[in-house]
């Protein structure tokens, strides 16, 4: 059944609603798919997918569902044109006329397959691989129904092939992306209030009406302050050696946070592997350039949204024992774990972002400390998805997990 495609899309995590599905059926009825599989692919994508971040998932679902309909690659251009325009047209239109809104895709699929087989046989002698110079299916040039070639590559790929190429993989939102995407995610971290200092620039309508009425109808305009974001952010970043491999990613986040001018206040501190008595002012963690962690705890309000970025991977003693600090000339009375708990207790809105992908957390070198720390802080991986989850966690007070 055609509806199976709908569920395949759902399975791939595409948020397709009935409304969109209805629109697709309507479009098919109106024969908007150009009577070809590639046209069908484009139609489905335009109607059902609403974000380039989902293009890849759609491609996967499409490729999986229509796997059997794989059209032969490498037929000459003319035949391809013919294939694309003429062949399935009959299949689809007859189907649709007969069944109106009920499209039986299995049949469509079967017919298409049959036709394609015939086609292959008919033109068996003439088929050859187009553009032997550059036939890599992973080229970036994509598909053109008219049979246009780009850079010597065969672009005449079937819809399934196009889907299979997963050109839009880079837009997946669970992938790590650039500064801008981080910024977009950070914009969600806001809380508006107008009770701030600043120029009164916005017309207060209710106030104006009141005043004017009090003036017996003589207009008097009342102004108020614009709404502003009252969110304050505390960013704590691990600058330890093991973070080097993630420096680019962290840099992007750092830049994004810095550019996000919508925070009322932004404080950034650094630490080496774990947080002890000191929070450093620069990523070099110089021994004479720090603020006491206790001072931060006493002086920053609990409303600071706290984002800790670190791989949380260290030797167990660094986290669990007093004197566990990695720098040989320092000594900590309280174990790092205690400090983390204190931070967590004070800053009720806090999250930990880990640049190590979540799927490795269980078996990476520091899996023990990752587990320990994620029991204290809600931990997310440092990807767009992770950041978004973290930010929605920052919007509300998080109960401390297991205050043991």
């Amino acid at each position: 059944m055609f509806t199976r495609f709908y569920y395949e899309l759902k399975n791939q995590g595409l948020p397709v609603s009935m409304k969109e599905w209805d629109a697709l059926l309507e479009a098919l009825e109106a024969d908007l798919c150009g009577s070809s599989l590639i046209g069908f692919y484009h139609l489905c994508r335009a109607v059902l997918v609403k974000s380039e971040a989902h293009y890849d998932r759609f491609d996967l679902a499409f490729a999986r569902f229509f796997e059997g309909v794989e059209t032969p690659e490498g037929l000459p251009d003319k035949i391809w044109e013919w294939l694309d325009k003429e062949l399935p047209a009959r299949g689809i239109t007859e189907e649709m006329r007969r069944n109106h809104r009920q499209l039986d895709l299995d049949e469509l699929r079967r017919m298409l397959e049959e036709r394609l087989k015939e086609q292959q046989e008919e033109h068996h002698g003439g088929s050859y691989w187009i553009g032997t110079g550059g036939t890599s299916p992973f080229g970036h040039s994509g598909y053109h129904p008219g049979g246009i070639r780009v850079g010597g590559q065969s672009n005449n790929l079937s819809a399934v092939k196009v889907a299979g190429m997963r050109r839009f993989q880079e837009f997946r939102s669970d992938e790590t992306l650039g500064v801008r995407q981080f910024q977009v995610a950070l914009r969600k971290l806001r809380q508006f209030t107008s009770r701030l200092d600043g120029a009164k620039t916005v017309l207060d309508l209710d106030g104006t009406i009141d005043k004017t009425c009090q003036n017996a109808g003589r207009l008097e305009l009342v102004w108020e302050r614009p709404r502003e974001n009252s969110i304050k952010v505390l960013l704590l970043m691990d600058a330890g050696g093991s973070m080097l491999s993630y420096s680019r990613l962290c840099n992007q986040l750092f830049t994004a946070v810095h550019r996000s001018s919508h925070f009322k206040d932004l404080k950034v501190f650094y630490f080496h592997n774990c947080i002890y008595d000191w929070l450093y002012h620069s990523p070099e963690c110089r021994k004479n350039d720090y603020t006491d962690t206790a001072y931060i705890l006493n002086n920053l309000g609990e409303d600071y949204r706290t984002i800790i970025v670190g791989d949380a991977s260290m030797a167990p003693y660094e986290l669990m024992r007093s004197g566990g600090v990695i720098d040989w000339d320092l000594y900590n009375d309280r174990a790092g774990l205690e400090w983390l708990r204190d931070l967590r207790r004070h800053f009720e809105y806090s999250v930990w972002l880990n640049p190590i992908p979540q799927k490795y957390w269980d078996w990476v070198e520091g899996s023990f400390t990752i587990k320990k720390i994620s029991e204290i802080f809600p931990m997310q991986e440092l990807t767009i998805d992770g950041l978004e989850k973290a930010i929605s966690a920052l919007r509300s007070r998080q109960r401390m997990a297991k205050a043991t």
Binding site: P15, K19, A27, L32, V47, V49, E52, V150
Partner: protein, 286 residues
């Protein structure tokens, strides 16, 4: 209200991919707004002009700013003017209609001929903005309580909406749209686009410039990658400056036209000068 208004086939001043053209036609046929996303400089705004040209319709542009409210697009009731008029008795205040001014959406609805309505950069507005337009875009009508009138579209406008993905749009809104993401044009498509703007370009110059352009775009640490419009400006600069093609790749003249961020410019210039320095050093020791 009339139905679909023909099909879009591209226009002379705008190179459109088949995919995009299909999406436009799907949107026209299904009578749904077409939401266009893509990198800056991929011609999102130009598309609406091209559709208007191709279908010979008027184009109404509603530019969205961060302060734009949905209501602004429908109509504005100029209460302050009316109040002033009442106080100074200059005009007939009893006629409220005089103080109702149509917004862009209202204008599109009331147009005697079908029009193309471009809602440009919808993501600039408040997060709730798109939701506030759902009913109007669905029903193509709105009610003015002040005059007790319903403004209904005479012809359903072709609605093109562009977004730079600065904010995510609400799901309810997305469900009602046809979506198309304009991919950055590949070299061949780009040559066609360039040909529209610079029809008589020297082959060698174009090749060299395009090669440098795509090389720059592929650099991983770019803050803002150069886009189509910057390439076109750059070519113009190269032609006017009389730069010989051989110099382009080596020196990247007029780089400021392509790169708009200081960091990017510094990075490239550093690499360029670094290269020549090592080359000089090599020469000295040879």
């Amino acid at each position: 209200m009339s139905g679909p208004q023909g099909t879009y086939n591209g226009s002379s001043g705008y190179i459109v991919s088949d995919e995009l053209r299909n999406s436009v036609n799907i949107a026209i046929a299904l009578q749904k707004p077409l939401l266009i996303k893509g990198e800056p400089g991929t011609g999102k705004t130009m598309l609406a002009q091209s559709i208007a040209d191709s279908l010979q319709m008027e184009l109404i542009i509603w530019n969205i700013k961060s302060t734009t409210k949905a209501q602004d697009g429908l109509y504005v009731y100029d209460t302050v003017q009316r109040l002033y008029d009442s106080q100074f008795g200059e005009h007939d205040v009893s006629d409220i209609k005089r103080y109702i001014k149509m917004g862009k959406l209202g204008e599109a609805f009331l147009s005697p001929l079908p029009v193309v309505l471009l809602i440009d950069e919808i993501d600039k507005a408040d997060l709730e903005f798109p939701n506030d337009l759902l009913w109007e875009l669905d029903q193509m009508s709105f009610y003015i309580p002040e005059t007790r009138e319903t403004v209904k579209a005479r012809h359903r406008p072709i609605v093109i909406i562009t977004s730079n993905a600065e904010k995510e749009l609400p799901d309810a809104f997305l469900r009602r749209c046809i979506f198309h993401y304009i991919d950055f044009p590949n070299a061949e498509a780009m040559e066609k686009i360039v040909a529209v703007h610079h029809p008589n370009l020297e082959r060698k110059l174009l090749e060299q410039a395009m090669e440098s352009f795509y090389a720059l775009r592929s650099l991983p640490n770019m803050q803002k990658r150069p886009s189509t419009s910057e390439l076109i400006d750059w070519l113009q600069a190269l032609v006017v400056g009389g730069v010989s093609p051989a110099r382009i790749k080596k020196e990247l003249p007029f780089l400021g036209v392509l790169l708009k961020k200081n960091e990017d410019l510094d990075m490239i210039l550093q690499q360029l000068s670094g290269k020549t320095q090592t080359r000089n050093a090599m020469g000295r020791y040879r």
